[in-house]
Symmetry: C2
Subunit: 336 residues, 2 copies
DNA sequence: CGCGTTTACGTCGTTCGTAACGATA
DNA sequence: TATCGTTACGAACGACGTAAACGCG
């Protein structure tokens, strides 16, 4: 059994049981991969794949088990390489991050800029997608960090580090009726208007909807979008009142939009950064986490490393002590 | 990085940093091992060992981390091989068991006999030792199963499967004063005599001593031994009253000793069988567990596999439902 | 006949063991 | 000088790539 054989095995399994595709992905010849698979099966004395004629038809029951173990082996081999690169003080490498629009557009730019300054030689890959797409990317093993908000149900094999909390902001065209309300803005006020807001990922927070329902209100959501820019566009068109993450209400918008801080109207959301369990974090990865989750220090990461379950980790972080991230601080109308 | 290099690395680490010894253990030449270590260090770009002149002086901090990962890799590689052998319906292999005297002498013989009948081609290695010695053998990785009684503190990296419970028996020379007591035997009765019993492993059950103390009694232990045979020998000599595991009071002893069942006098002890976490159990290993712990079926093992902590496992087994193992059933005087 | 896999074979790099050398206590 | 590790070198092995054959739709 060779590491290379296990690598090929995984490549085949991850490329639709197509040996040719696997070979291309490994930058090697197809017969080589084919032969190594055969040698591995020979050595183990078992079929790892079922054959349809000459092609591979499926994975045998035992094959699944072997693949599972092989993944662990390759992961630990990667970990050893990470340890080595880090030890050698190398600050080269790559960092692939999958995240949602809000983070990519409004939160990460500053962080990425700082990160690039510190680690100019680290190649950064940002991938934007919905929670489901992020989960797929995580499953495909192409991702170092996933950043998202809300439930971690889709990400059971990641360590989720709660990073910051945020509130929502109401955006309306300048001079909108809502801006004339003198008292604290209420959900009742909001419910009188057509609303434009996010389409939430499956399984994600209907926390917004629930907030209305808890007060016996039926919000009139006339449009949902995946990102705040689209929402703001429609708000500008007068389609309705926008509800966006506060981070998305940036100063540039204040020219033609009025932003009302909705802190307290809706429950706060928590955004986390997640990485695969049992992986060694390169030094620059640790730095990135600290940039993103400013309350995390070496001690916290050590505590996380020791934790045995996600619940343990959540317990480590008193939600009320997480940093709260807002948007632009100029010209915000306070709801409270 | 090759599996072989990692294997050599571990061999060096496990042989006192002596490359020559490691090479012998691996049945290969010393220069080969030396070279592979060098190649590995070269590839990783780091020193895994500190050098004292030409000899290896110690393991670097990073080296420890790499070794830890390498162990995982080798363990999973072994697991893959186990899966394969099992899949191929091979019933060859070897099974190394470390256990205490009581188990080896009184409990395992029947089980081993049955096991050998079922799996004549599996090589059996039994190693007897104290709890500490067993823990050492476990740490040295030479052992498939550890069998012992009481606290699992020494065995934190094993899965401990509670297997059966047992009571103690009192052994005295025939016609001893204790045998003339008509009522149920009490601790008070026992405390009147000099006692001969086990020397308990460090951290192990002083449950016997505690039983006396709980009644405000100070037992007069005149002799402690590591095994029941020695105890019985001294009982025969009239040195005192023996307290042994009921399994150790076998029929052959009844010729010249009187055995009094002490069920209820002392708390029941639980004996477990343990195997290393994250290891695949060969089919014959599963069978052995089932022979030893008769209440364990495939479903139980599946439940155990799924459990994430030892507490989870302990919860799976209602102690009151574990089988109770006694000794010889002929001519036992009931204490109750 | 196209797609994908296996077989065949020549080349090249790697591993291994023996033997000789070097360093350390 | 005994012990242990490294260097040197030739033989054997194994991996890889090209080319060709095979099987299946």
């Amino acid at each position: 059994m060779k590491l290379q054989q296990l690598k090929y095995l995984l490549a085949i399994a991850d490329n639709g049981l197509n040996i040719t595709a696997a070979a291309e992905r490994m930058y090697t010849s197809q017969p080589g991969v084919s032969k190594q698979l055969k040698l591995l099966e020979e050595e183990l004395g078992m079929q790892l794949f079922t054959r349809k004629g000459k092609s591979l038809g499926g994975i045998t029951a035992a094959g699944h088990q072997v693949i599972e173990r092989a993944r662990i082996i390759m992961r630990e081999a990667d970990n050893i390489r990470s340890l080595a690169s880090d030890y050698y003080q190398e600050e080269e490498g790559s960092l692939s991050i999958a995240t949602t629009h809000t983070q990519a557009r409004y939160v990460l730019p500053d962080i990425v800029a700082e990160f690039r300054k510190r680690f100019p030689k680290v190649g950064l890959n940002l991938h934007q997608g919905t929670s489901e797409q992020i989960a797929d990317m995580v499953a495909a093993n192409d991702i170092d960090f996933a950043i998202a908000t809300g439930s971690g149900d889709l990400f059971s094999d990641l360590i989720l580090v709660p990073s910051y909390r945020w509130d929502r902001s109401i955006v309306v065209p300048k001079g909108h009726e809502l801006t004339t309300i003198e008292n604290k803005l209420t959900l009742q006020d909001l419910a009188r208007f057509p609303l434009v807001t996010y389409v939430f990922s499956f399984g994600g927070q209907s926390s917004l909807k629930r907030a209305f329902e808890d007060e016996g209100l039926e919000p009139d959501v006339v449009f949902t979008a995946r990102d705040a820019d689209v929402i703001k566009t429609y708000v500008r068109m007068g389609l309705g009142v926008g509800i966006v993450a506060s981070m998305a209400a940036d100063c540039a918008d204040r020219k033609d939009l009025q932003v009302i801080d909705a802190e307290g109207l809706f429950p706060r959301s928590t955004t986390w950064i997640g990485y695969r369990k049992n992986t060694v974090l390169r030094r620059y990865m640790v730095d990135f986490i600290q940039l993103f989750a400013s309350h995390i220090g070496p001690q916290q990461l050590e505590d996380i490393r020791r934790a045995t379950s996600q619940e343990d980790i959540d317990k480590l972080f008193d939600a009320s002590k997480l940093p709260v991230r807002g948007g632009c601080n100029e010209g915000v109308t306070q709801a409270a």
